[in-house]
Subunit: 306 residues, 2 copies
DNA sequence: CTGAAAGCGCTAACAT
DNA sequence: ATGTTAGCGCTTTCAG
């Protein structure tokens, strides 16, 4: 009787439930930029998985600033989120704000970018080994000298990608001092364009460029082509992350596909699981490594074209 | 004394406050796909503005499905969001779920895509007039016949873009039956590629293509080039939305830049304002039209190149 | 096994 | 002006 009346259009008040249980059924997300395809795809995975498990997601952007990131963490803490998934800002000098949240018993898990010194659950990709694989592919084309355009080496993912490239050189018995030029840049199209032009102005010699993300690879390719150099005939070009655009430029660019959506889903699964198990005292931090995949396209193939 | 002790690290419990005030200080967002650049950019604007005003944002994707959209609305209602910003799904046949929320006194505002039959606040762009402007630009190049690739005409934005194109023809005194070919497609790269090839197979004649989004324009351009036709020498190609990629393909594509971030910010301002004024009974729905901007690139310029 | 009662931590109304 | 108290609607506990 009452039951039926209730079933008609009874809506339990989540606010009251949240207060009583001290749980918000909400997961906070912090990413550098929502508009980057990798992150929006990861968020898409997080959103799907979270909703399936009855959790909401609150989104924050750090704009790659530690200050904003700290603010975001405060916002999320005061919203009483049950956990935080974060891909931290570039400048990871200070990690207090993250420790603060953890100390307050709010789980903070990393996805993609991560901070080694903080012991918590992480869901990352095997950037190092795929970067190595890509470099071996470049070396197999008898290149004389390879330029690497990398980002801030304090960012885990860039550090690992560089590490992989070095490993490939060492494994192949090549001298990295002779055959490798390292350039740290802002990994975007404009800066890559500028730096490659500078390198050419300075008569640096190289016949392959491995940029640590696709936008930088595209800027590189454009710079080379504007100077009359052909890709891949004169210089090979490779990127990283498999942005949509990387297969649409001419020639399409060899890159590494990262399972962004799966990373998001996996991180969410780990988090939800942790939240549910937390009460039972089962706390263990683990690092999950998802496989990324080398995608070879025309920009690094001298013989056949995709 | 106590004050100081409290100031040290007192964190008011938002959950309790929310229950007491019956407000969540949260705005719900529903978009078709987070991963589309336009939407992630709009969300970025919403996030910034909302946080500035002390509101959180919960994000949902409808995947362009009315069922999922209805589910999202339920999720947001049960989360007791103070308002919902929505860019509705393609198939807007049923609008009950949106009406339900409005009837329950939860404000639902539209941004970008919108449903005319629902009377509420809307923040949109002047697609029609910019589409007209773009078409006039094409007509000024003495084209003989223009093909329009459009999406579902029940979607407000596509309908308005087509309307603008028609207006340009009429204003110029051209007969749309002779000079205009309309093709309704799925507005993505692959479908555009397929349809343009079909049109060429069927010996349809046209020397300009206006695709109602950039990805379709890129598919069009690729199809034309693969058949040995030159852009812009043989066929002009124009798109819509100014995706990042549209200026990176070869030739760069003429398109319309929409102020995605500003749309998000404006919609959020209207919503926050409404939420604050609601108690005072000041309810008025208004439609704000933001200006978009024609960006002419090489794909539609026979004389000079950008 | 069903039903009443206490309490989560705040805010708003009321009384001092 | 300041201090006290009731109550938001759930969940959990405790009594019947």
């Amino acid at each position: 009787m009452q039951d039926k009346a209730k079933e008609m259009n009874y809506q339990p008040n989540t606010l009251a439930s949240n207060l009583r249980t001290q749980k918000s059924n909400t997961i906070g997300i912090i990413v550098p930029h929502i508009t980057k395809y990798f992150f929006s795809t990861a968020i898409s995975g997080i959103e799907e998985e979270a909703h399936e498990q009855g959790f909401n997601v609150i989104i924050c952007q750090s704009k790659d600033s530690v200050e904003l990131e700290a603010k975001n963490i405060n916002t999320l803490m005061s919203s009483r989120v049950d956990g935080i998934l974060i891909s931290p800002a570039i400048e990871t000098s200070s990690v207090e704000h993250i420790q603060t949240a953890i100390n307050r018993n709010i789980p903070v898990f990393f996805f993609d970018r991560h901070i080694d010194s903080i012991s918590t659950t992480k869901v990352i990709t095997d950037d190092r080994s795929t970067s190595k694989e890509l470099t071996l592919h470049l070396l197999s084309q008898n290149i004389k000298r390879m330029a690497v355009l990398t980002g801030d080496q304090s960012v885990s993912i860039y550090k690992n990608r560089v590490k992989g490239a070095f490993e490939a050189f060492q494994e192949s018995g090549y001298n990295t001092e002779d055959k490798l030029i390292m350039q740290q840049i802002h990994l975007n199209m404009d800066d890559a364009y500028r730096v490659v032009n500078e390198m050419l102005d300075n008569k640096m010699e190289f016949d392959a460029v491995f940029a640590m993300n696709d936008m930088a690879a595209i800027g590189t390719q454009k710079a080379l082509q504007d100077r009359g150099l052909r890709v891949p005939e004169d210089v090979l070009v490779a990127g990283f992350s498999n942005e949509l655009i990387s297969k649409l430029v001419s020639p399409p660019i060899t890159t590494v596909h990262q399972p962004a959506k799966e990373i998001g889903k996996m991180a969410t699964k780990k988090m939800v699981n942790y939240i549910k198990e937390k009460d039972k005292g089962l706390i263990a931090s683990e690092t999950t490594v998802l496989e990324s995949k080398l995608i070879i396209r025309a920009s690094t193939q001298r013989d056949k074209v995709e």
